[in-house]
Symmetry: none
Subunit: 212 residues, 4 copies
DNA sequence: AATGAATGAGTCTTCATTCAT
DNA sequence: AATGAATGAAGACTCATTCAT
């Protein structure tokens, strides 16, 4: 993947644009800051172990005040996940548009999701995996279409890779293995450690594709 | 992997032997049944969302009675994890002894852990991954040596594979990717679905090794 | 009771006159509309179950804004009750002035209070009965004189009826029975149902007086 | 009504018999005492204004312990009402069996319900009237059949009275007026005051029947 | 071993009220 | 006048744990 493509993902322009378009909640607003804090805490402690008092304290308000912004803790979770998908999908599309080669594109997919899991961006994709069962069925339904759209992008590219002989197993299963590998990183990844997210993405690409 | 090796893993002999040696708690005893029930519930609902009343009901006793067997819910979790490691390690060693070829051995490693995650054996390895943070630091320490022993086996084999050119990335990282892929299966694996645990293990082997 | 008397009770003239004299709050003003809404909600849901947000929503404003009109929810209750007594007393006096015969006068008393309980007039007398204990002692004291004046009118007429042999029990007790019967109607009266308020008043009169 | 009939209603035998038959909860048991306390508090303060802490304090336990006996405050209300109907219905049937004359029977009906409203018996019928809307729809449904049975007894007797010319208005409406009169007594009745429940019942009978 | 009752600290949530803008 | 954000005290309910029986 080119240096240009990599750095584009980090630019603030992207986020700003999404805010302008009201795709995501303005991270500077009270609601936005709450979502960011919640994402961080849910990732660190899990949804169940994060109390509304924790959330409130993180924002410097009292717990009752939270409910001025969201009707319930559950609604906060829903929004955290919603934002995560939206933000990551936007990053993904940008990344894809900046790469031509299929291998590079898959590399980009991996990197995007990895960073969305590990970096403190508010787009904590791991929450989607680990806290999914904390979402009530009604809310799960609401997110399912969005998740499906997102997964469709992965499937499309891994299928092409299969056709081209870059992949030798069922692409659906490969994707599931990769979800596990990626989300699992939060249990051991350390910022400033031996491997950067970029390096990890590269290694994961090597595992996923036959001759990467 | 040979048919003999596969079926040996399923034999009851192994478990019986471990009980005789008092390595693991007799699954027929009250304590043993509790551990099994707990493993099932912790896997299904998570540790935090499993109440001590849930555990008691599963055993057909009242919640207060649980504390005659274990001093706290935390202690139950500790023992569930402990048993999981012990049981799985024993299965692992048996599996390794039944295979000669390095590729077969790695295949066996994967299959063992996959089954320990997906099958209702009481050796629910996924709990180690997903509920690790529910273990208090003191108890984490107690299990760490055991986990290290277990991981050493994996590292040894993946390192050999690296040397032989079967693996092209850092074995430590590969192992972590595999932990993620394996434990992630609980989110989507369905018994009686398209792929069996054996088939999944095969596919994971193909992903992990260059020419498997 | 004559047709003239009946329809006079429904005329808007009466209310207008009271507003002009500043006896009651102008129902077109913000304060007046709030009182009307509050009366409706308190009757329907009870004082405790009506939130200040409910009241605000009914008026199309935000809850904080309510406190520009009244200092507290308690004060709103006080005023709702106050208005109810004033309005009903005025209607009562009019009704009495339009009837000569004692039986007709008692009929009028009953009809007035029944309509004040059942119709959506802002003079919800039932609130006086059912929400009285929600009024703090201080405010109860404030209304007591007013209530006593109002009750004096009833007592006077029922006493006369006793003297004339139309009533055969202690007039004070009869009045209390009637309060119960009248306020109880809100639990079952349905507008447009089998019996009109006029018909119900007639039946109640028959129960109260020996040969009505 | 005869003296025998009156005193039979007060005997403890009746209650004991019901307990033996498990028709009602034993008032000496924890559950029974809770129900009694709850009935008293709900009557005095209303359901909404009675906190679970109030209930617990009345029983000398901590609030959390309440939920060992009943799953929710709502369930307590349901049971209080249920007991009230059962107890009162039993008293009613006894009273009816002890009186021959129609007038006496109606007198007995009134007295029973009046005492069930005013005396501290655990059969607080007024709660049925005043707190009915606090019962959720599901629970309302559960009690409806029971209430209907109970009301059928009243209807039967008042209808007979109508046929005999003792009553000159629709018996259904008369019953509703009487419910109001009876339940309304809690707002003003004072034990040891001028009138006893027996005296009040007599007066109410005089109001209800033409020549009582 | 087992039970049932009790505990107490904790959970999310509600709501009347305040106040700067 | 009106708003939106915030407060804090209170609400019902949960749950691991204890303990007398």
């Amino acid at each position: 993947m080119s240096f240009t493509a990599l750095s584009a993902l980090k630019s603030k322009q992207l986020t700003d644009q999404l805010i302008d378009q009201s795709v995501i909640v303005d991270p500077a607003s009270a609601k936005g800051r709450l979502l960011k804090s919640a994402a961080t805490l849910f990732k660190r402690q899990g949804f169940d172990s994060t109390t509304v008092r924790d959330l409130a304290k993180e924002m410097g308000i009292k717990s009752g005040s939270l409910f001025h912004h969201y009707q319930s803790k559950q609604e906060i979770l829903l929004n955290v996940m919603h934002q995560a998908i939206l933000l990551n999908q936007a990053r993904l599309e940008l990344a894809l548009s900046l790469n031509e080669n299929l291998t590079d594109k898959i590399h980009a997919l991996i990197l995007c999701e990895l960073q969305a899991s590990l970096l403190d961006t508010g787009a904590q994709m791991t929450i989607l995996v680990y806290e999914w069962r904390c979402l009530n069925p009604e809310n799960q339904q609401k997110l399912l279409t969005l998740r499906d759209n997102y997964e469709a992008v992965w499937f499309e590219h891994l299928s092409q890779a299969k056709t081209q002989g870059l992949v030798n197993i069922d692409p659906k299963i490969l994707r599931r293995f990769l979800i596990g590998s990626i989300s699992g990183t939060i249990h051991w990844y350390q910022e400033g450690g031996k491997y950067s997210t970029e390096k990890l993405a590269e290694m994961m690409l090597m595992m996923a594709l036959k001759d990467a």
